[in-house]
Symmetry: C2
Subunit: 103 residues, 2 copies
């Protein structure tokens, strides 16, 4: 199942608005077909989504979803640069309960 | 619970050796106290660990663990640059089964 790490770096003066926009999208994205994991995290100066999808088709549908479009529209102009998307292939290993995002 | 995204970028000629070294450490790290998630992923030119730990003390113990030291010794000289560690705070939202790494 494809895994995605997506990083958004807000402008310092827009951190709270970006956090709000990202979190508002989460319940809608969870309803999208094939969404196994869509979780937001924060570090100083950045927000990081960790995502897992059932297959590439689910990723493609998410990329074209209204929830994502609305989120990107809300953060437009509020980021310090382009967001970064890393598409990953899991390499499950060790204890199945700890060695993969979604056992 | 602290979440970590750690990225290793192997030199092209050492991709297979680095993959082997990272995966060999996984079963040992899963036995460390407070390890909730320690999962390896691959993308072209990089390997990405996604980790979750019970608390900061578990992270500190892992940072000093024999399994990690052995892994870092094995990949020494085989990376294209320093590895990147991002320490994250989860922002759980939406469906609890999908909105956080470990519900």
């Amino acid at each position: 199942m494809p895994v995605i790490v997506a990083t958004f770096s807000p402008k310092p003066e827009h951190v709270d608005e970006v956090r709000e926009a990202l979190l508002a999208a989460v319940p809608e994205v969870h309803k999208e077909p094939g969404c196994k994991l869509y979780a937001v995290h924060e570090a100083p100066g950045k927000f990081v989504f960790i995502e897992e999808w059932a297959d590439d088709d689910a990723v493609a549908k998410h990329a074209a979803s209204p929830a994502l479009a609305e989120m990107l529209q809300k953060v437009d102009g509020k980021l310090a640069g382009p967001f970064d998307i890393v598409m990953l292939t899991p390499l499950p290993a060790g204890d199945p309960a700890r060695g993969q995002l979604r056992p």
